[in-house]
């Protein structure tokens, strides 16, 4: 569908913008700073979830919220459900997507694997933003070992 292409093109231009903007500021050649991409995702997720949960009954608990993210939310945004959800029941959740939308169009190979963090940062931010607005504060990181599969690690901060 055409609107989906629009979002994908916008997503990749955000990555380009942040990388170029970061490059002009710090030239030490250290690790790429992807935090701005993550933050743009955070802000988007935070606002989006306000709309999506408007007509929904209250969540029962944390696990219920995670299940929602893996199923209904993921299908709406990433066109498929999360393939596997694991939890240690102590605030750690691992969401595995075997064909992550932003990685399916990138070829597999070492040089591409190195660039993978760029394509998952926005989504880490989306997840963190959605959960933060649902009052679950967490750290979200992503792990890509085999394209286009991706694991998102959610670590809930207990207060």
């Amino acid at each position: 569908m055409a609107e989906e292409t629009l979002f994908e093109v916008l997503h990749s231009e955000i990555i380009n913008y942040v990388l170029q903007n970061g490059e002009s500021r710090n030239k030490d050649g250290k690790d790429e700073d992807l935090s701005t991409i993550e933050y743009i995702g955070f802000s988007t997720g935070y606002r989006l979830i306000e709309r999506l949960t408007k007509e929904m009954p209250r969540f029962k608990d944390e696990l219920d919220t995670m299940k929602f993210i893996c199923t209904d939310f993921w299908s709406a945004v990433y066109k498929k459900q999360i393939d596997n959800l694991r939890t240690n029941h102590q605030g750690i959740y691992v969401l595995q997507d075997n064909a992550f939308r932003f990685l399916t169009k990138i070829s597999n190979g070492k040089q591409y694997l190195e660039a993978a963090p760029r394509y998952v940062s926005f989504t880490c931010g989306i997840i963190r933003g959605c959960l933060a607005n649902l009052n679950i504060f967490c750290l979200v990181t992503a792990e890509v070992q085999n394209m286009p599969s991706c694991k998102f690690h959610i670590q809930v901060q207990r207060t």
Partner: protein, 139 residues
């Protein structure tokens, strides 16, 4: 017609407040803030409560001689409070419920303004206008 609408943030501080009669604002602020305890109570009492707690609308929180106070809590823990005159018999549960839905919809819209930072007080003129219209039943 509602006489006052308050929106209370996650941190229990007011983000938006409006009354039909501005002279009564302080008085109503007090009423709205004391309703928050009832909200917390309703949310915390688990599934034992009489109402279905998975619904966002909490129903009437409490009544005073002069006013009735209703509450609604979003999935994102934003509280909406509506104050109605006790003498007002025209507003039934369903009307109140639909007022809350409209307020919720306006709120979800304002959160999507990229220049509004969630958690800050809402001072948009168009938002205030829409809420006033919802209160007076002109939408």
């Amino acid at each position: 017609m509602a006489v006052c609408v308050g929106i209370i943030g996650k941190d229990n501080s007011p983000k938006f407040f409006t009354c039909l009669n501005p002279a009564e604002e302080l008085n109503f602020q007090y009423k709205v803030l004391s309703a928050l305890d009832v909200v917390e109570e309703k949310l915390n009492c688990g599934s034992k409560g009489a109402t279905d707690l998975r619904e966002l609308y909490l129903g009437m929180l409490y009544t005073l001689e002069t006013h009735k106070i209703y509450g609604y809590v979003t999935n994102t823990k934003i509280k909406f409070i509506i104050v109605v005159d006790s003498t007002n018999m025209a507003l039934r549960d369903n009307e109140i419920r639909s007022m809350f839905r409209k307020i919720h919809s306006e709120y979800a819209d304002i959160v999507c303004n990229p220049f509004y930072i969630p958690g800050e007080p809402i001072c948009s003129k168009s938002f205030t206008g829409s809420i006033k219209n919802i209160m007076t039943g002109t939408v």
